[in-house]
Symmetry: C2
Subunit: 235 residues, 2 copies
């Protein structure tokens, strides 16, 4: 599975959820990346756009059929249900951001540097794939049962990676703080951007990552109460 392309190239992967769709003869090499896969990827891209704009429940398959320039019935050649679309978008997005993170963490030393890489990776991918990431973030309670459990498991893994990075940091610096609280505060900061980031006004991903890393790391690494001149008690 190629991870070389930096843009959102969606499935090209192990999805064979369609009824019993056989691998297409396995001729020479490219079993994946067939015409079918490429068309499905475009559909998922359109779907992410619509789910992002109207929300999963508010978006209709007819909206997608218009956006994709395909008939309503024709869509169902590529997937089985609307729920599949959300699942595929969320799963691919989450797996990609984690894979990219682990690639970047491989050759990184120093706990602080690794935390900075986590933040930078998150913000870069978030802003480069804003729509899919908003769908991932905003619809994180939408999927139920097995599909929902699977996505939630990936989310827990992502959480766990971040928690370990922060606990390493605390150990290295000899500090003690609540890892859980730190992770969740950090996630709040970096996930919230989908509600406000405007590329024409705001910093780009790299700059943002540096600012937020500084803000967060100062908050976590500095001991005790913040320095202040006066502290008054209320009546």
């Amino acid at each position: 599975m190629s991870l070389t392309n930096l843009e959102t190239r969606l499935p090209s992967g192990p999805y064979n959820g369609r009824k019993g769709r056989p691998v297409p003869a396995a001729k020479g090499e490219e079993i994946v990346d067939s015409r079918f896969d490429r068309r499905l990827a475009k559909l998922l891209h359109h779907a992410a756009h619509i789910f992002c704009e109207k929300g999963y429940e508010g978006a209709s398959m007819r909206d997608l059929s218009k956006a994709a320039g395909m008939s309503l019935a024709g869509l169902y050649h590529y997937f089985n249900s609307k729920e599949d679309l959300l699942y595929l978008i969320q799963k691919h997005t989450f797996e990609t951001i984690i894979a990219r993170l682990q690639e970047r963490l491989k050759d990184a030393t120093g706990a602080e540097q690794r935390v900075r890489i986590f933040i930078e990776n998150h913000l870069e991918y978030f802003l480069a794939n804003k729509e899919a990431m908003k769908v991932l973030t905003h619809e994180d309670e939408t999927l139920k049962n097995g599909r929902g459990a699977e996505i939630r498991a990936i989310k827990r893994e992502y959480y766990r990676i971040c928690l370990e990075l922060l606990e390493d940091l605390g150990r290295e610096k000899g500090l003690q703080f609540s890892g859980r609280l730190a992770v969740l505060a950090l996630f709040g900061m970096i996930n919230w951007i989908y509600t406000w980031h405007n590329p024409r006004v705001d910093l780009n991903a790299g700059e943002l990552a540096e600012e937020m890393s500084d803000l967060f790391l100062r908050g976590v690494l500095n001991p005790g109460k913040p320095k202040r001149k006066t502290q008054k008690a209320n009546a």
Copy 2:
């Protein structure tokens, strides 16, 4: 308008959005808080619960009728549309949290203390009215046109209050930082809690406010790069 009750007591206020519903005769005192208002408040409470659970688009009026123990048609005696429900919930919630904040800020001196009050007020109200606050936060792009613009205006006011508190702080301490980035990072931290806070596991509002205030203020007030022992450059 009484602000004495700490729990969510919804309209009892200037809502006369119903067709031409006259003030009920203005007998002795209580023009508001009529039977009608109290019943509507309970309906809004149920609606917030359902919107919180299933999302605005995913929730149906039939869900609400079941939860409220009232017939589907009977609901429409109290409001004109499903959209009204969302509007009333969001408007009341937002106005209440701002009113409470301004009350608390009145007798507070010191820029840092005022920022701490902002955070504490937000988290206290958020955790005490989790469902309505999730609806406010999660459905913040759902309302369109006039209603949406009105809610968005209140949101901008809340943002502006926080921004001024932070700029005062920066001025008082002689620091310079991006107010916009600081506000949005702070909002991320404190709004994100609806995705994770579990009262059986996590700190209560007051403790959380102190922890997050410390984290944020250390991040904002300490100058330069966070202290560190080693800094390595990547290949």
